[in-house]
Protein backbone atom coordinates (compact mmCIF):
# COMPACT_ATOMS: atom_id res chain seq x y z
CA UNK A 1 0.00 0.00 0.00
CA UNK A 2 1.53 3.34 -1.02
CA UNK A 3 1.86 5.93 1.75
CA UNK A 4 -0.57 8.83 1.27
CA UNK A 5 0.96 12.02 -0.12
CA UNK A 6 1.81 14.72 2.41
CA UNK A 7 2.13 17.42 -0.22
CA UNK A 8 1.07 17.49 -3.83
CA UNK A 9 1.83 20.16 -6.46
CA UNK A 10 -0.15 19.77 -9.69
CA UNK A 11 0.45 22.01 -12.69
CA UNK A 12 1.58 24.92 -10.53
CA UNK A 13 2.51 28.22 -12.17
CA UNK A 14 3.59 31.37 -10.38
CA UNK A 15 4.59 34.80 -11.54
CA UNK A 16 6.02 37.85 -9.76
CA UNK A 17 4.75 40.53 -12.12
CA UNK A 18 5.99 39.34 -15.49
CA UNK A 19 8.67 37.15 -13.95
CA UNK A 20 7.59 33.50 -14.33
CA UNK A 21 9.19 31.97 -11.23
CA UNK A 22 7.48 28.58 -10.93
CA UNK A 23 6.87 26.74 -14.20
CA UNK A 24 4.84 23.54 -14.60
CA UNK A 25 5.56 22.23 -11.13
CA UNK A 26 4.27 18.69 -10.54
CA UNK A 27 5.66 17.23 -7.35
CA UNK A 28 4.37 14.66 -4.87
CA UNK A 29 6.01 14.40 -1.48
CA UNK A 30 5.18 11.28 0.53
CA UNK A 31 4.35 11.29 4.23
CA UNK A 32 7.57 10.90 6.18
CA UNK A 33 9.74 11.73 3.19
CA UNK A 34 12.82 13.94 3.56
CA UNK A 35 13.03 15.95 0.36
CA UNK A 36 16.10 18.07 -0.36
CA UNK A 37 15.70 20.96 -2.80
CA UNK A 38 18.81 22.38 -4.45
CA UNK A 39 19.50 24.75 -7.30
CA UNK A 40 21.16 28.05 -8.17
CA UNK A 41 20.18 31.29 -6.46
CA UNK A 42 16.97 32.71 -7.93
CA UNK A 43 15.84 29.37 -9.34
CA UNK A 44 12.63 29.42 -7.26
CA UNK A 45 13.47 27.14 -4.30
CA UNK A 46 12.23 29.54 -1.63
CA UNK A 47 9.12 30.36 -3.62
CA UNK A 48 8.40 26.65 -4.04
CA UNK A 49 8.43 25.86 -0.34
CA UNK A 50 6.69 29.10 0.61
CA UNK A 51 3.76 27.90 -1.53
CA UNK A 52 3.37 24.93 0.79
CA UNK A 53 2.27 27.07 3.73
CA UNK A 54 0.68 29.84 1.73
CA UNK A 55 3.31 32.54 2.30
CA UNK A 56 3.13 32.79 -1.48
CA UNK A 57 -0.03 32.15 -3.47
CA UNK A 58 0.06 30.23 -6.73
CA UNK A 59 -1.69 31.62 -9.78
CA UNK A 60 -2.41 28.37 -11.58
CA UNK A 61 -2.57 24.74 -10.55
CA UNK A 62 -3.12 23.40 -7.05
CA UNK A 63 -1.14 22.68 -3.93
CA UNK A 64 -2.67 20.09 -1.59
CA UNK A 65 -1.22 19.67 1.88
CA UNK A 66 -2.43 16.85 4.12
CA UNK A 67 -5.51 16.48 1.95
CA UNK A 68 -6.40 20.18 2.27
CA UNK A 69 -6.21 22.43 -0.74
CA UNK A 70 -4.63 25.87 -0.49
CA UNK A 71 -6.91 28.57 -1.76
CA UNK A 72 -6.95 32.30 -1.42
CA UNK A 73 -9.55 31.91 1.34
CA UNK A 74 -8.47 31.75 4.96
CA UNK A 75 -10.15 28.66 6.42
CA UNK A 76 -8.07 25.89 4.92
CA UNK A 77 -4.96 28.07 5.02
CA UNK A 78 -5.18 28.45 8.79
CA UNK A 79 -5.62 24.69 9.21
CA UNK A 80 -2.65 23.99 6.94
CA UNK A 81 -0.41 26.46 8.73
CA UNK A 82 -1.16 24.75 12.03
CA UNK A 83 0.25 21.52 10.58
CA UNK A 84 3.20 22.94 8.66
CA UNK A 85 6.16 24.40 10.51
CA UNK A 86 8.79 26.61 8.90
CA UNK A 87 12.43 27.40 9.70
CA UNK A 88 13.94 30.45 8.00
CA UNK A 89 17.46 31.31 6.90
CA UNK A 90 17.46 34.39 9.15
CA UNK A 91 15.80 32.63 12.14
CA UNK A 92 13.18 35.38 12.65
CA UNK A 93 12.84 34.80 16.37
CA UNK A 94 10.63 37.41 18.06
CA UNK A 95 13.23 39.78 19.53
CA UNK A 96 10.99 41.05 22.34
CA UNK A 97 10.15 37.57 23.66
CA UNK A 98 12.30 35.17 25.65
CA UNK A 99 13.24 31.81 24.18
CA UNK A 100 10.47 30.12 26.17
CA UNK A 101 7.93 32.73 25.06
CA UNK A 102 9.01 32.33 21.45
CA UNK A 103 8.24 28.62 21.68
CA UNK A 104 4.98 28.82 23.64
CA UNK A 105 3.50 31.78 21.75
CA UNK A 106 1.75 29.88 18.95
CA UNK A 107 0.58 26.88 21.02
CA UNK A 108 -1.02 29.26 23.53
CA UNK A 109 -2.55 31.75 21.11
CA UNK A 110 -3.44 29.48 18.20
CA UNK A 111 -4.10 26.10 19.78
CA UNK A 112 -5.25 27.41 23.18
CA UNK A 113 -2.90 25.05 25.02
CA UNK A 114 -2.83 25.92 28.77
CA UNK A 115 0.27 27.93 29.67
CA UNK A 116 1.77 25.38 32.09
CA UNK A 117 1.42 22.58 29.59
CA UNK A 118 2.87 24.73 26.79
CA UNK A 119 5.85 25.64 28.97
CA UNK A 120 6.42 22.04 29.99
CA UNK A 121 6.42 20.99 26.33
CA UNK A 122 8.65 23.92 25.41
CA UNK A 123 11.23 22.89 28.00
CA UNK A 124 11.16 19.36 26.64
CA UNK A 125 11.78 20.74 23.15
CA UNK A 126 14.68 22.83 24.44
CA UNK A 127 16.18 19.60 25.80
CA UNK A 128 15.78 18.10 22.37
CA UNK A 129 17.69 20.93 20.67
CA UNK A 130 20.21 20.84 23.52
CA UNK A 131 19.51 24.32 24.91
CA UNK A 132 17.70 23.66 28.21
CA UNK A 133 19.56 26.46 30.00
CA UNK A 134 18.49 29.20 27.55
CA UNK A 135 14.76 29.24 28.34
CA UNK A 136 14.84 32.74 29.80
CA UNK A 137 17.38 34.28 27.43
CA UNK A 138 16.42 36.75 24.73
CA UNK A 139 17.28 35.92 21.10
CA UNK A 140 19.87 38.71 20.93
CA UNK A 141 21.83 36.93 23.69
CA UNK A 142 22.22 33.74 21.63
CA UNK A 143 24.63 32.76 18.90
CA UNK A 144 23.28 32.17 15.42
CA UNK A 145 23.40 28.41 15.80
CA UNK A 146 21.54 28.61 19.11
CA UNK A 147 18.94 30.93 17.61
CA UNK A 148 18.33 28.53 14.75
CA UNK A 149 17.92 25.61 17.15
CA UNK A 150 15.37 27.66 19.12
CA UNK A 151 13.61 28.41 15.82
CA UNK A 152 13.41 24.67 15.16
CA UNK A 153 11.99 24.10 18.65
CA UNK A 154 9.49 26.88 18.00
CA UNK A 155 8.35 25.22 14.79
CA UNK A 156 8.09 21.82 16.53
CA UNK A 157 5.96 23.27 19.33
CA UNK A 158 2.93 23.21 17.05
CA UNK A 159 3.48 19.46 16.54
CA UNK A 160 3.51 19.87 12.77
CA UNK A 161 3.20 17.01 10.32
CA UNK A 162 5.43 18.83 7.84
CA UNK A 163 8.55 20.94 8.45
CA UNK A 164 9.90 23.36 5.85
CA UNK A 165 13.51 24.57 6.00
CA UNK A 166 14.69 27.45 3.81
CA UNK A 167 18.51 27.37 3.81
CA UNK A 168 18.62 26.98 7.60
CA UNK A 169 22.41 26.99 7.82
CA UNK A 170 23.30 29.58 5.17
CA UNK A 171 23.46 32.48 7.64
CA UNK A 172 25.62 30.58 10.13
CA UNK A 173 29.33 30.65 10.83
CA UNK A 174 30.90 27.33 9.77
CA UNK A 175 31.47 26.12 13.33
CA UNK A 176 27.74 26.38 14.08
CA UNK A 177 26.43 24.58 11.03
CA UNK A 178 27.00 21.12 12.47
CA UNK A 179 24.99 21.74 15.64
CA UNK A 180 21.95 22.72 13.57
CA UNK A 181 22.38 19.88 11.07
CA UNK A 182 22.62 17.37 13.93
CA UNK A 183 19.23 18.50 15.23
CA UNK A 184 17.78 18.24 11.72
CA UNK A 185 19.22 14.79 11.17
CA UNK A 186 17.71 13.58 14.43
CA UNK A 187 14.36 14.97 13.28
CA UNK A 188 14.61 13.20 9.94
CA UNK A 189 14.50 9.87 11.73
CA UNK A 190 11.24 10.66 13.55
CA UNK A 191 9.00 10.15 10.55
CA UNK A 192 8.08 13.81 10.12
CA UNK A 193 7.82 15.03 6.52
CA UNK A 194 10.65 17.45 5.76
CA UNK A 195 11.24 19.72 2.78
CA UNK A 196 14.71 21.18 3.04
CA UNK A 197 16.29 23.81 0.81
CA UNK A 198 20.00 23.42 1.49
CA UNK A 199 23.38 23.13 -0.11
CA UNK A 200 24.65 20.81 2.63
CA UNK A 201 25.28 17.74 0.48
CA UNK A 202 26.38 15.70 3.49
CA UNK A 203 22.94 16.19 5.01
CA UNK A 204 21.25 15.22 1.73
CA UNK A 205 23.31 12.02 1.43
CA UNK A 206 22.87 11.00 5.01
CA UNK A 207 19.14 11.51 5.60
CA UNK A 208 17.63 12.66 2.32
CA UNK A 209 15.17 10.34 0.56
CA UNK A 210 15.18 12.33 -2.65
CA UNK A 211 16.94 15.34 -4.16
CA UNK A 212 15.09 17.77 -6.41
CA UNK A 213 17.11 20.14 -8.59
CA UNK A 214 15.51 23.42 -9.69
CA UNK A 215 16.68 25.71 -12.44
CA UNK A 216 14.93 28.84 -13.73
CA UNK A 217 11.64 27.97 -12.07
CA UNK A 218 11.48 24.36 -13.22
CA UNK A 219 12.22 21.06 -11.56
CA UNK A 220 14.76 19.73 -14.04
CA UNK A 221 16.09 16.65 -12.23
CA UNK A 222 15.20 14.48 -9.27
CA UNK A 223 16.56 11.24 -7.87
CA UNK A 224 17.56 9.54 -4.60
CA UNK A 225 20.74 11.21 -3.25
CA UNK A 226 23.27 8.46 -4.14
CA UNK A 227 22.01 8.28 -7.69
CA UNK A 228 21.72 12.05 -8.02
CA UNK A 229 25.25 12.75 -6.84
CA UNK A 230 26.81 10.07 -9.03
CA UNK A 231 24.78 10.89 -12.16
CA UNK A 232 22.48 13.89 -11.95
CA UNK A 233 21.23 13.20 -15.46
CA UNK A 234 21.05 16.89 -16.37
CA UNK A 235 23.91 19.07 -17.58
CA UNK A 236 22.86 22.10 -15.50
CA UNK A 237 22.65 19.95 -12.39
CA UNK A 238 26.04 18.48 -13.22
CA UNK A 239 27.55 21.95 -13.54
CA UNK A 240 25.90 23.11 -10.31
CA UNK A 241 27.13 20.06 -8.41
CA UNK A 242 30.69 20.45 -9.62
CA UNK A 243 30.63 24.06 -8.40
CA UNK A 244 29.37 23.44 -4.89
CA UNK A 245 31.30 20.22 -4.37
CA UNK A 246 34.50 22.06 -5.33
CA UNK A 247 34.15 24.09 -2.12
Amino acid sequence: MPTPAAIEFSGVQKWFGTNHVLIDIDLTIATGEVLVVIGPSGSGKSTLIRCINGLEAVQQGTVVVGGKQLTAKGGELAAIRREVGMVFQAFHLYPHKTVLENITLAPITVKRVPREQAEREARALLERVDLPEKADAYPAQLSGGQQQRVAIARALAMQPKVLLFDEPTSALDPEMIAEVLDVMKALAHTGITMVVVTHEMGFAREVGDRVVFMDDGRIVAQAPPEQFFSAPGNPRAQLFLSKILAH
Binding site: G85, H96, L105, A151, M158
Partner: protein
Protein backbone atom coordinates in the same frame (compact mmCIF):
# COMPACT_ATOMS: atom_id res chain seq x y z
CA UNK B 1 14.66 92.61 42.99
CA UNK B 2 15.69 92.24 46.56
CA UNK B 3 12.68 90.68 48.22
CA UNK B 4 10.93 87.91 46.31
CA UNK B 5 8.47 87.16 49.08
CA UNK B 6 5.57 88.20 46.82
CA UNK B 7 6.48 85.23 44.57
CA UNK B 8 7.89 82.69 46.98
CA UNK B 9 4.98 82.50 49.36
CA UNK B 10 2.67 79.62 49.99
CA UNK B 11 -0.35 81.10 48.23
CA UNK B 12 1.40 82.06 44.99
CA UNK B 13 3.43 78.90 44.74
CA UNK B 14 0.35 76.76 45.34
CA UNK B 15 -1.42 78.72 42.60
CA UNK B 16 1.45 78.09 40.17
CA UNK B 17 1.79 74.45 41.19
CA UNK B 18 -1.89 74.05 40.41
CA UNK B 19 -1.07 75.41 36.95
CA UNK B 20 1.63 72.80 36.53
CA UNK B 21 -0.97 70.22 37.55
CA UNK B 22 -3.30 71.40 34.79
CA UNK B 23 -0.42 71.41 32.29
CA UNK B 24 0.52 67.83 33.18
CA UNK B 25 -3.11 66.70 33.19
CA UNK B 26 -3.65 68.16 29.74
CA UNK B 27 -0.43 66.59 28.47
CA UNK B 28 -1.29 63.20 30.01
CA UNK B 29 -4.74 63.14 28.43
CA UNK B 30 -3.34 64.17 25.06
CA UNK B 31 -0.53 61.58 25.27
CA UNK B 32 -2.96 58.77 26.10
CA UNK B 33 -5.54 59.73 23.48
CA UNK B 34 -3.05 60.54 20.73
CA UNK B 35 -1.15 57.30 21.31
CA UNK B 36 -4.25 55.16 20.76
CA UNK B 37 -5.66 57.40 18.01
CA UNK B 38 -2.23 57.58 16.37
CA UNK B 39 -2.04 53.78 16.15
CA UNK B 40 -5.56 53.64 14.69
CA UNK B 41 -4.69 56.36 12.15
CA UNK B 42 -1.44 54.65 11.20
CA UNK B 43 -3.23 51.34 10.65
CA UNK B 44 -5.85 53.21 8.64
CA UNK B 45 -3.20 54.75 6.44
CA UNK B 46 -1.52 51.36 5.94
CA UNK B 47 -4.85 49.66 5.23
CA UNK B 48 -5.42 48.09 1.85
CA UNK B 49 -8.99 49.43 1.93
CA UNK B 50 -8.54 52.55 -0.24
CA UNK B 51 -11.23 54.86 1.20
CA UNK B 52 -9.87 54.27 4.70
CA UNK B 53 -6.25 54.86 3.76
CA UNK B 54 -7.13 57.99 1.78
CA UNK B 55 -9.16 59.41 4.67
CA UNK B 56 -6.40 58.69 7.17
CA UNK B 57 -3.77 60.19 4.88
CA UNK B 58 -5.78 63.39 4.38
CA UNK B 59 -6.30 63.75 8.13
CA UNK B 60 -2.64 63.13 8.94
CA UNK B 61 -1.15 65.34 6.24
CA UNK B 62 -3.74 68.07 6.82
CA UNK B 63 -3.05 68.26 10.55
CA UNK B 64 0.69 68.19 10.03
CA UNK B 65 0.45 71.14 7.67
CA UNK B 66 -1.41 73.35 10.16
CA UNK B 67 -0.20 75.33 13.20
CA UNK B 68 -1.28 73.75 16.46
CA UNK B 69 -2.45 77.18 17.65
CA UNK B 70 -4.93 77.29 14.77
CA UNK B 71 -6.22 73.87 15.81
CA UNK B 72 -6.63 75.12 19.39
CA UNK B 73 -8.54 78.22 18.30
CA UNK B 74 -10.64 76.15 15.93
CA UNK B 75 -11.49 73.66 18.64
CA UNK B 76 -12.53 76.41 21.07
CA UNK B 77 -14.30 78.90 18.82
CA UNK B 78 -15.42 76.99 15.72
CA UNK B 79 -15.95 73.36 16.74
CA UNK B 80 -18.86 74.14 19.13
CA UNK B 81 -20.69 75.79 16.23
CA UNK B 82 -20.25 72.67 14.10
CA UNK B 83 -21.19 70.08 16.70
CA UNK B 84 -23.68 72.32 18.50
CA UNK B 85 -22.21 71.64 21.93
CA UNK B 86 -20.48 74.30 23.99
CA UNK B 87 -17.00 73.25 25.09
CA UNK B 88 -15.25 74.60 28.14
CA UNK B 89 -11.64 75.69 27.52
CA UNK B 90 -10.12 72.58 29.04
CA UNK B 91 -12.22 70.23 26.89
CA UNK B 92 -11.47 72.29 23.77
CA UNK B 93 -7.76 72.31 24.62
CA UNK B 94 -7.66 68.59 25.29
CA UNK B 95 -9.47 67.83 22.03
CA UNK B 96 -7.14 70.09 20.05
CA UNK B 97 -3.93 68.76 21.59
CA UNK B 98 -5.06 65.14 21.17
CA UNK B 99 -6.31 65.55 17.60
CA UNK B 100 -3.15 67.36 16.55
CA UNK B 101 -0.66 65.08 18.26
CA UNK B 102 -2.47 61.98 16.97
CA UNK B 103 -1.48 62.92 13.41
CA UNK B 104 2.19 63.20 14.36
CA UNK B 105 2.12 60.01 16.42
CA UNK B 106 0.47 58.24 13.47
CA UNK B 107 3.46 58.99 11.26
CA UNK B 108 5.87 57.77 13.91
CA UNK B 109 3.86 54.57 14.35
CA UNK B 110 3.63 54.03 10.61
CA UNK B 111 7.40 54.33 10.24
CA UNK B 112 7.80 51.94 13.18
CA UNK B 113 5.47 49.36 11.65
CA UNK B 114 7.16 49.58 8.25
CA UNK B 115 10.52 49.00 9.95
CA UNK B 116 9.44 45.68 11.49
CA UNK B 117 11.25 42.96 9.50
CA UNK B 118 8.87 41.17 7.13
CA UNK B 119 10.36 37.83 8.17
CA UNK B 120 9.00 38.18 11.71
CA UNK B 121 5.50 38.57 10.36
CA UNK B 122 6.03 35.57 8.09
CA UNK B 123 7.28 33.50 11.01
CA UNK B 124 4.09 34.32 12.90
CA UNK B 125 1.93 33.66 9.83
CA UNK B 126 3.57 30.32 9.28
CA UNK B 127 2.61 29.35 12.84
CA UNK B 128 -1.03 30.04 12.14
CA UNK B 129 -1.47 33.33 14.04
CA UNK B 130 -4.29 35.48 12.71
CA UNK B 131 -3.65 38.93 11.27
CA UNK B 132 -5.06 40.57 14.40
CA UNK B 133 -2.89 38.40 16.67
CA UNK B 134 0.22 39.18 14.64
CA UNK B 135 -0.49 42.90 14.89
CA UNK B 136 -1.08 42.76 18.64
CA UNK B 137 1.65 40.31 19.66
CA UNK B 138 4.41 40.82 17.12
CA UNK B 139 4.18 43.94 14.94
CA UNK B 140 3.00 46.62 17.38
CA UNK B 141 5.22 45.72 20.35
CA UNK B 142 8.31 45.66 18.16
CA UNK B 143 7.29 48.85 16.36
CA UNK B 144 6.61 50.70 19.62
CA UNK B 145 10.05 49.77 20.96
CA UNK B 146 11.75 51.06 17.85
CA UNK B 147 9.84 54.33 17.88
CA UNK B 148 10.37 55.19 21.56
CA UNK B 149 12.91 58.01 20.93
CA UNK B 150 10.70 59.70 18.33
CA UNK B 151 7.61 59.30 20.51
CA UNK B 152 9.31 60.84 23.52
CA UNK B 153 10.52 63.78 21.43
CA UNK B 154 6.95 64.23 20.23
CA UNK B 155 5.62 64.22 23.78
CA UNK B 156 8.21 66.83 24.82
CA UNK B 157 6.86 69.00 22.00
CA UNK B 158 3.34 68.29 23.23
CA UNK B 159 4.20 69.32 26.78
CA UNK B 160 5.58 72.62 25.47
CA UNK B 161 2.61 73.13 23.18
CA UNK B 162 0.13 72.84 26.06
CA UNK B 163 1.32 76.36 26.98
CA UNK B 164 -0.59 77.58 23.93
CA UNK B 165 -3.88 76.71 25.57
CA UNK B 166 -3.24 79.71 27.81
CA UNK B 167 -4.65 81.83 24.99
CA UNK B 168 -8.08 80.23 25.25
CA UNK B 169 -8.04 80.81 28.99
CA UNK B 170 -7.04 77.44 30.40
CA UNK B 171 -5.45 78.13 33.76
CA UNK B 172 -2.33 76.14 33.10
CA UNK B 173 1.18 77.13 34.10
CA UNK B 174 1.84 79.89 31.55
CA UNK B 175 -1.57 81.50 32.05
CA UNK B 176 -1.17 81.48 35.81
CA UNK B 177 2.27 83.00 35.44
CA UNK B 178 0.69 85.83 33.46
CA UNK B 179 -1.88 86.32 36.21
CA UNK B 180 0.83 86.48 38.88
CA UNK B 181 2.96 89.11 37.17
CA UNK B 182 -0.09 91.18 36.28
CA UNK B 183 -0.49 91.89 39.99
CA UNK B 184 1.63 94.06 42.27
CA UNK B 185 4.59 94.38 42.34
CA UNK B 186 4.29 93.80 38.54
CA UNK B 187 7.59 92.04 38.12
CA UNK B 188 7.46 89.61 35.22
CA UNK B 189 11.09 88.57 35.10
CA UNK B 190 11.23 86.41 38.27
CA UNK B 191 7.92 84.81 37.26
CA UNK B 192 9.24 83.93 33.82
CA UNK B 193 12.46 82.58 35.31
CA UNK B 194 10.46 80.33 37.59
CA UNK B 195 8.05 78.93 35.01
CA UNK B 196 10.85 78.48 32.48
CA UNK B 197 12.68 76.42 35.07
CA UNK B 198 9.58 74.34 35.72
CA UNK B 199 9.03 73.61 32.02
CA UNK B 200 12.68 72.81 31.57
CA UNK B 201 12.63 70.36 34.46
CA UNK B 202 9.42 68.69 33.30
CA UNK B 203 10.72 68.23 29.76
CA UNK B 204 14.08 67.04 30.97
CA UNK B 205 12.30 64.55 33.22
CA UNK B 206 10.20 63.32 30.32
CA UNK B 207 13.29 62.87 28.16
CA UNK B 208 14.90 60.97 31.04
CA UNK B 209 11.93 58.61 31.30
CA UNK B 210 12.19 58.12 27.56
CA UNK B 211 15.86 57.23 27.83
CA UNK B 212 15.11 54.71 30.55
CA UNK B 213 12.39 53.10 28.44
CA UNK B 214 14.80 52.89 25.52
CA UNK B 215 17.46 51.24 27.65
CA UNK B 216 14.97 48.70 28.94
CA UNK B 217 14.06 47.56 25.44
CA UNK B 218 17.49 46.11 24.63
Amino acid sequence: MTDLGWLFNRGTLTFLAGGLGVTLELAAIAIAVSFVAGIVLALGRLSRFRPLSVAATIYIEGMRALPVLLVIFFSYFALPRIIGVKLDPFAAGAIAMSAFTAALVAEIVRAGILAVPKGLVEAAQSQGLSAAQILRIVTLPIAVRQMMPALVAQFVTLLKDTSLTAVIGILELTRRGQIVFAQPPFQPIPVFALIALVYFTANFGLAQIGRRLEARTL
